[in-house]
């Protein structure tokens, strides 16, 4: 293309290869742009999905917390805790109160959530303890610091259920059995007398770890991501097993997060952190997913695209080279052949290929060269014949004056000795030679040609004495018709040698010139033996035979001059004798 731009010649192969390879750039460019865009969109979408996941998980957890909260609402009215008004002095009374409390908690309020409840305590205003845990029965067993902290916190929101992490548990019983179930958050509510608004008791609902893990345990943050829940004070309430949260940068970022609302941050350019804070509990859910995980599928797509592009490039290069070769090679070969074609290597042929347009070029080129070869051959033959005729004429012109002088001397001697027949013969012979020696001319008139034939017959009549008769007839309109010289003499000579000479009593030769349409017909008839026409035709077409050489020369000269429709014909119509016809076009002037 550049070559074209700089107006230079370029090979067809280079052009095809350049175009094919340039075309490959477009899909590659499209692939790279698509990958980059898809990467951007993917990251945005994943960020949104991550935040949505956190938000929805938080919402599910809040619904769980709200349910626990609502289950305690029946305790807000006086009648529910009336059993506390009974005396709790004896062990049995305390047992009965505990039993009622336990029944109320397990049988009525939390019956459907028992698999999430670890213990439920009620600490009355006068520090009596009712507990579902038989090991916890005295206020002395309470961790007083935690209790005070919780009570203080409750004063901030006295009507609401408050949630505390395991760190603030007021009673820790020793595990009697191996169990994977652990204590978890505690829900605490202040219960006031609905009539007097005086503090009646604090209700502690200690939940186990399944309470949270059942809600969030099946939540997956991507493949390698993780999430944690922390309370408003930053204490961890739930955390998936992951080293992600052990990273100092991550810890610090989470610690500094706003304690309200939601958001997304990129931490250390390595992790995507989404957080959401619950308005119900104040718990903050933080989900972390390595950016690498988000990029990995896209990187994998890129890797595959690169592999596909690389493989495609290789295959396209191979295919382009092969196609360029397939298309350009015959063209190049043809062009090279055309540029190197000369007279010397016209015999070389171009193999015809399978591409239709190129094969047409190759076929026509081959035909062209064959035609040129044929024309060259024809021209060569003509030139050779011309040279031969010229040589012959020149040879014959070597000493014409000597020949004429000699014949003149003989003529005068025959006059001196009164030998009339000799003088006639010499006179005829002189005319014969004069015509013959001047036959190098291309055209002569019909009259001159017939005069020459008459001369020839006159000379031959001296040879054959009384055995030869001859008769020459011509349409007078044809006397100026142009004819090649010496075309009748070989025919008459044949008629004498093959016809009259073989007849003991001699014969007659008749020469007749007539016109048929635009053709002139010259007929030579002898009364001798007939002609084997098939044999005569074969001899006429056989270039190697020395027999009838003169007649064949006449035929070839006529065909070369006028075309194949003219020439010699043998007539089979004669019962005795032989008739040879010569057809030439009627012309009185030499064609342009």
């Amino acid at each position: 293309m550049l070559c074209l731009m700089f107006n230079r010649m370029i090979s067809i192969r280079s052009l095809l290869l350049s175009v094919f390879l340039l075309l490959m750039i477009f899909p590659l460019t499209v692939a790279v742009i698509t990958y980059k865009k898809e990467n951007e969109i993917s990251q945005k979408q994943v960020s949104q999905y991550l935040l949505q996941t956190v938000e929805q998980t938080q919402r599910a957890l809040d619904a769980n917390l709200a349910e626990i909260d609502r289950l305690t609402w029946p305790l807000l009215y006086q009648q529910s805790l009336d059993f506390l008004d009974s005396p709790l002095e004896s062990a049995y009374q305390l047992f009965q109160a505990n039993q009622k409390f336990r029944d109320m908690m397990y049988m009525y309020l939390f019956r459907g959530r028992l698999d999430h409840i670890r213990d439920i305590y009620l600490i009355t205003a006068n520090q009596q303890v009712l507990s579902t845990n038989k090991l916890f029965y005295s206020f002395d067993q309470i961790e007083s610091g935690h209790f005070r902290y919780i009570v203080d916190q409750l004063e901030n929101q006295p009507l609401k259920m408050n949630w505390f992490s395991d760190k603030w548990a007021i009673f820790r019983s020793q595990e009697g059995f191996q169990t994977p179930i652990r204590e978890s958050v505690t829900a605490v509510r202040k219960l006031n007398d609905s009539n007097t608004s005086q503090l009646r008791a604090y209700l502690f609902v200690q939940l186990n770890d399944r309470f949270i893990s059942e809600i969030v345990g099946n939540v997956h943050i991507g493949s390698t991501g993780s999430f944690m829940i922390s309370d408003a004070g930053g204490d961890v309430i739930y955390q998936q097993d992951s080293a992600l949260f052990e990273n100092p940068a991550m810890k610090e970022t989470i610690r500094k997060l706003h304690k309200q609302g939601q958001g997304i941050q990129v931490v250390d350019s390595k992790w995507l952190l989404a957080y959401n804070t619950s308005s119900t509990s104040g718990w903050q859910m933080s989900a972390v997913v390595p950016l690498r995980e988000l990029v990995v599928p896209n990187q994998r797509i890129l890797q595959y695209l690169i592999i596909i592009a690389g493989l495609g490039t290789l295959i396209f290069v191979i295919v382009s080279v092969l196609l360029a070769m397939a298309i350009s090679r015959p063209v190049i070969h043809l062009a090279r052949l055309m540029s190197t074609t000369s007279i010397d290597n016209l015999h070389m042929r171009e193999n015809v290929g399978s591409i239709r347009e190129i094969s047409i070029l190759q076929r026509n080129f081959n035909r062209l060269r064959e035609r040129i070869q044929q024309l060259l051959r024809d021209n060569e033959v003509q030139q050779k014949e011309k040279r031969d005729a010229l040589l012959q004429a020149m040879q014959m012109q070597i000493q014409p004056h000597f020949l004429y002088n000699t014949l003149d001397t003989i003529y005068w001697m025959s006059k001196e000795y009164e030998a009339d027949s000799i003088s006639k013969l010499v006179t005829a012979l002189g005319r014969f030679f004069r015509f013959t020696l001047h036959s190098g001319q291309e055209w002569t008139s019909m009259k001159k040609e017939l005069d020459h034939v008459e001369n020839y017959l006159q000379i031959q009549s001296f040879r054959y004495k009384d055995k030869l008769e001859y008769d020459i007839q011509m349409d007078p309109s044809l006397k100026n018709a142009l004819v090649m010289p010496l075309i009748l003499q070989p025919l008459v000579e044949n008629a004498l040698e093959h016809g009259i000479a073989k007849m003991s009593k001699g014969g007659k030769v008749s020469v007749n010139v007539t016109k048929e349409g635009d053709r002139v017909v010259l007929s030579v008839f002898n009364t001798g033996n007939g002609i084997d026409i098939e044999k005569a035709k074969k001899l006429l077409q056989s270039p190697d035979s020395s027999e009838h050489l003169g007649m064949r020369n006449v035929d070839q000269r006529i065909k070369m001059a006028f075309g194949p429709e003219y020439g010699i014909r043998f007539s089979p119509s004669q019962r005795e004798g032989a008739l040879v016809l010569v057809y030439i076009p009627f012309r009185t002037e030499v064609a342009g």
Partner: protein, 450 residues
């Protein structure tokens, strides 16, 4: 280029392009997210268990079961205090949050009658053809039927032992009276120089412990709650005598005053710590825990049959309590076949061996008498011996109500709130009231031979 060459060339070019297209298709069709890290859906059997020795041993069965069947086991563990309420609530509510439930044999009638658990006969019949190893029913110490159908297979068998410090008490007491006397000797409140704080302890918490523990005393004295014919016997002379014995223990402070807060673990730990000289009646399952503990007293803590009452012939009548922990299939389970596979495996011989090696007491004769455990688990022999004389609680559809009445009566005695006579008479009246309103299913007794 001739036609053959051109065709070959075109075919080669086309093949390369097809190869390229196929390669691209295959590569881009691959899952871009690593499948190994993606969450997978898998078959899961959820088993509801109670915190305790049974669940700890049962958890050990999960791994070989998962390896053998490819079914993952997920345990839902609920604390001992709320377990029975949770099980009843969820089964009656038609909850499908669990497939298999661990329950005491005494609860089977209640849940079977309400069709909350599945009869297992169909699965038991099927087991022979499917696995080639049919369930060996005869090997179980007991199976639990309701209306002729088996509803649960036992995974654990329990009975009561007497635990005593052999370094202090060379010969274990044979009667309750002997026990009382020895206990007094080793109670610091009575004998200041006693090496132990308490001469005797027993679990007395609710639910479950209090009335079950007392049953061994009640039956030894010849008392009963409800007779085989459905008659209430809790206020019989023999029953009241057993209550008076308990009252005596409390009144004389031979046992801790807060006995009602003593549970299995506290009793076990008191033995391990050397705080008590004896524990009776007390669960057999504590023995392997004590043996595996690092207590300096563990080699001195021995087990024996619970004491009894000597009759006129001089024979000591001992009737220890026995019950089984069984596995049943939740009728609302969405994976009943998987549930059966777990029940079959856990209660089978392979599961039983694993269970036994991890401190459990499988309810199979072949395992309890296996030579493998003869030395490592000397408690097995005593279990078999105890089971020959042991008795089960009646299988009643109102069993929880009956137990609650009994627990309340015992609480009155343990807190010295009422006399045994009053407490048991009140309880008997409540029981008669209960039985009058609820049809009694007496014949389906636990411990029936298979």
């Amino acid at each position: 280029m001739n036609r053959f060459k051109l065709n070959t060339l075109m075919a080669a070019a086309f093949s390369l392009l097809v190869l390229w297209a196929v390669t691209g298709f295959v590569l881009l069709s691959r899952d871009m997210i690593d499948a190994s890290t993606a969450p997978k859906a898998e078959a899961v059997v959820k088993v509801l268990i109670r915190t305790g020795t049974e669940s700890a041993a049962l958890r050990q069965i999960a791994q070989p079961f998962e390896q053998e069947t490819g079914i993952k086991v997920q345990f839902i563990e609920v604390g001992r205090d709320s377990y029975f309420t949770a099980v009843g609530t969820q089964l009656f509510a038609g909850s499908n949050t669990f497939d298999v439930v661990l329950m005491p044999s005494t609860s089977i009638a209640q849940f079977a009658s309400s069709k909350a658990i599945l009869p297992l006969d169909r699965y038991i019949a099927m087991s022979g053809s499917a696995s080639g190893e049919p369930v060996d029913i005869d090997d179980f110490l007991s199976v639990y039927r309701y209306n002729g159908s088996i509803y649960a297979l036992p995974t654990d068998i329990s009975t009561h032992f007497l635990y005593y410090r052999s370094d202090l008490i060379p010969k274990p007491p044979e009667t309750w009276d002997e026990l009382y006397e020895i206990a007094k000797t080793f109670t610091a409140g009575i004998h200041r120089n006693s090496p132990t704080r308490w001469g005797l302890v027993m679990p007395a918490v609710v639910p479950e412990e209090r009335e079950k523990i007392f049953d061994s005393i009640l039956w030894s004295f010849g008392g009963n709650i409800i007779g085989d014919d459905g008659q209430v016997l809790f206020d019989s002379k023999e029953s009241i005598q057993s209550g008076e014995y308990l009252e005596k223990l409390m009144r004389e402070s031979v046992v801790p005053g807060d006995l009602m807060s003593w549970d299995f673990a506290r009793t076990r730990d008191a033995l391990i710590n050397g705080d008590v000289a004896m524990a009776a009646p007390y669960w057999n399952s504590a023995y392997p825990m004590i043996a595996q503990s690092s207590s300096p007293h563990k080699d001195h803590i021995r087990i024996a049959l619970i004491p009894g009452v000597r009759d006129e012939t001089g024979q000591v009548r001992r009737i220890p309590f026995q019950h089984g922990w069984t596995l049943s299939i939740n009728a609302s389970s969405t994976n009943q076949l998987g549930a059966w596979k777990f029940v079959e495996f856990a209660t089978g011989k392979q599961g039983g061996m694993i269970y036994a090696r991890n401190g459990g007491i499988p309810a199979r004769r072949s395992i309890l008498s296996a030579p493998e455990f003869r030395e490592s688990r000397p408690d097995f022999a005593l279990i078999l011996k105890s089971l020959t004389i042991a008795r089960s609680e009646p299988s009643l559809i109102y069993y929880p109500a009956m137990a609650e009445v009994q627990e309340n009566a015992l609480a009155k005695i343990l807190t010295l709130f009422a006399s045994p006579s009053d407490a048991f008479q009140d309880a008997a009246a409540e029981l008669r009231n209960l039985s009058a309103h609820i049809s009694v299913k007496v014949p389906e007794r636990m411990g029936n031979n298979p």
